[in-house]
């Protein structure tokens, strides 16, 4: 009897110890500490890999930029005029252009002479630029309260940009002249929005290239319609019978074509929406247009417009002699 009791006790103790051990082991397995370490290291690995990826991308960009000194040059003609949002518009436009290799920015002011604001801005921008000015004749100028579609804006300034290009084209020689053979001209208004891919699309323009433009003509987008690699018509919401129903932001022209067709200018007296056609009809026919942006299926430029800022408070305070400091450039 005593022997039996002792043996039973031993077995019971053995069982309990084993059970506790098992529970301890299970708890160890279930502890989140390990999981946290594991997850943390995963997160750190991910962020580390992302960092490395970013560095590699920057490295690629640097090497690409240094390599791209032999790609065709893009001349961008931007008409601009003094207004409250001018500096802001030029600022974000310059941020886009800073990314584009071999870009030459031709800024043409609608002013009797070059203003200090634009001169200072351009010299600080870090871009290669030419600063011009050309005043719009009074009879062609939009008056206060005129709707913005009444008269074409910027025609004189774009023509001034073209005049400068033709003068420049006639004065260069040798390598520079050879480079001009491949260069491209683009008319970029100062309030539109441009993706970087757009400039790579237009860089290899042989005559005149075209692409869709977003948010223009009362439509989400306007675009040339392409069949078998050729432009056959235009998807547009306004005056589709125009010879070239396309926005100013929707085409680029080979500089060679501009230099050899000296009569090609923008007609400041053209009726609404025909400014682009008045220039292009001297240069190409529809058959010769080169569709870009994935055969005109991608929107890479948007015809955005900035609201006129409200200045009610400013006017009220001016009457009280407490207007904002004119020396602070805005």
């Amino acid at each position: 009897m005593r022997m039996r009791l002792k043996l039973k006790t031993v077995f019971v103790l053995y069982f309990m110890v084993s059970l506790f051990g098992l529970l301890y082991a299970l708890m160890q397995l279930g502890q989140r500490c390990d999981c946290r370490d594991h997850e943390q290291s995963k997160d750190q690995q991910i962020s580390q890999l992302k960092g490395e990826l970013q560095k590699l991308q920057e490295h690629i960009k640097t090497s690409e930029l240094s390599k791209k000194t032999d790609v065709p040059r893009i001349y961008v003609i931007t008409p601009t005029y003094a207004r409250l949002v001018q500096k802001a518009e030029l600022t974000r436009l310059s941020h886009t252009f800073l990314h584009v290799p071999q870009l030459h920015w031709i800024v043409v002011e609608d002013a009797p002479q070059q203003t200090q604001l634009v001169s200072d801005f351009l010299s600080a921008s870090g871009l290669t630029y030419t600063h011009l000015n050309k005043l719009t004749p009074k009879e062609r100028k939009l008056q206060e309260g005129d709707p913005n579609w009444l008269k074409p804006r910027g025609a004189e300034q774009r023509n001034e940009g073209l005049r400068w290009l033709r003068w420049m084209g006639s004065t260069v020689h040798g390598k520079e002249a050879a480079a001009l053979e491949e260069a491209v001209v683009y008319f970029a208004d100062d309030d539109n929005t441009y993706s970087l891919q757009l400039f790579e699309e237009m860089r290899y323009t042989y005559r005149v290239s075209v692409w869709p433009v977003g948010l223009v003509g009362g439509m989400k987008f306007e675009r040339p319609v392409v069949e078998d690699g050729k432009v056959v018509r235009f998807h547009t919401g306004w005056r589709p019978n125009r010879p070239f129903p396309i926005d100013m932001a929707g085409f680029a022209v080979s500089l060679r074509l501009v230099l050899t067709n000296k009569e090609a200018l923008f007609d400041g007296d053209a009726q609404m929406g025909f400014l682009e056609s008045s220039f292009l009809q001297h240069l190409v026919t529809m058959d010769d247009l080169e569709p870009k942006a994935d055969l005109c299926t991608k929107v890479l430029v948007w015809h955005t417009r900035t609201e006129k800022p409200k200045m009610k408070r400013e006017e009220a305070l001016l009457k009280q002699g407490m207007g904002s400091d004119p020396d602070v450039e805005v």
């Binding site: 886009t96 989400k220 417009r305 602070v328």
Partner: protein, 316 residues
């Protein structure tokens, strides 16, 4: 028979326990190995960085190499951008990205006002070339009426993300960048040195050419503004930046939604984290305008066809 069964069970039990414990130890060893590999990879990183520096030094100017060296210790600028779907959304994000891409040590936190990530923004961010975090939170319809503050939930979600993913060893500055404003590159270098909260003028805001803090002897003493000048912080959302550690050490500081009066969002937030006398004036003692409160006109879609006319779907 029974006794044999019990005997075998009790003999096997400890072996099972031993196996389980060994497995557990193996797991721990694995985590130890992960840690070791992490440190080793860090060492590899250091070596790679040295290589990169060498490359830069040989291929670029001294200035570039020195800035390259500084880049590793530069505070990160976290730009919080609330956005919502509309016709000009992609255009706005495009030119914003064109600016941000040129700012070193930059982290873009884009918060959509939506129930889930939209495909347009997801695809855009994946190709934008800026380091980013993509979040979304839907603003309840009752908060979308005219005159009510916008983007409150989105900014608060971004603050929550920062508090959950950054720690005391991180150096950075938090800035609220709406998706339609215009920012000069100089602005980001000005705000990078923010120790607590820095302020600067904002152009074209509040019905004026600019609004700005009034500064005397390097201290903010008042506000030049045409609207509610009696606010404790009479400043626009684009007119201040906050050091990352200030955000982390005030975990309950959020933008108020309930009971917020018009134009008080900025004041209600800044009141929780700083005082006027502690503000740091930037932009040459607040005499330079480096950011503009621009707004894009609503798009006229009067000629848009009622039915899908184009055979190709085109994202705008």
């Amino acid at each position: 028979m029974k006794s044999i069964f019990y005997t075998r069970f009790f003999i096997l039990l400890p072996w099972i326990l031993i196996v389980i414990i060994v497995i557990d130890i193996d797991t721990k060893r694995l985590s130890v190995r992960n840690t070791a590999s992490f440190y080793l990879s860090r060492l590899g990183n250091v070596q790679q960085r040295q290589v990169v520096r060498t490359t830069r030094t040989s291929s670029s100017s001294t200035t570039a190499s020195s800035s390259g060296r500084n880049a590793t210790s530069l505070p990160v600028i976290y730009a919080i951008t609330p956005t919502y779907s509309r016709a000009v959304q992609k255009a706005e994000l495009t030119r914003l990205a064109n600016t941000f891409r040129q700012v070193p040590q930059f982290h873009w936190i884009v918060v959509e006002d939506a129930n889930s990530h939209t495909e347009l923004v997801s695809r855009f961010l994946a190709r934008c070339g800026v380091r980013y975090t993509h979040l979304n939170v839907f603003t309840p319809r009752r908060f979308k009426r005219t005159g009510m503050p916008r983007a409150t939930e989105q900014r608060n979600l971004a603050l929550g993300w920062i508090r959950g993913h950054r720690g005391s060893k991180d150096k950075g500055v938090v800035f609220f960048a709406d998706d339609d404003n215009t920012y000069s590159l100089e602005l980001f270098e000005e705000m990078r040195s923010t120790r607590r909260v820095s302020v600067w003028p904002v152009g074209l805001v509040g019905g004026r050419r600019y609004e700005r803090p009034l500064v005397e002897k390097g201290k903010v003493v008042g506000w030049y503004t045409g609207w509610k000048a009696d606010r404790p912080f009479a400043i626009d959302m684009a007119g201040f930046a906050v050091n990352l550690q200030v955000i982390l050490s005030n975990p309950r500081a959020l933008f108020k939604r309930r009971g917020a009066k018009p134009g008080m969002q900025e004041s209600d937030f800044l009141k929780q984290i700083t005082k006027v006398e502690d503000l740091e004036p930037k932009a040459k003692n607040c005499t330079q305008v480096l950011v503009w409160h621009t707004r894009t006109e609503k798009v006229n879609l009067g000629n848009e066809p009622k039915r899908q006319q184009d055979s190709v779907f085109i994202e705008v």
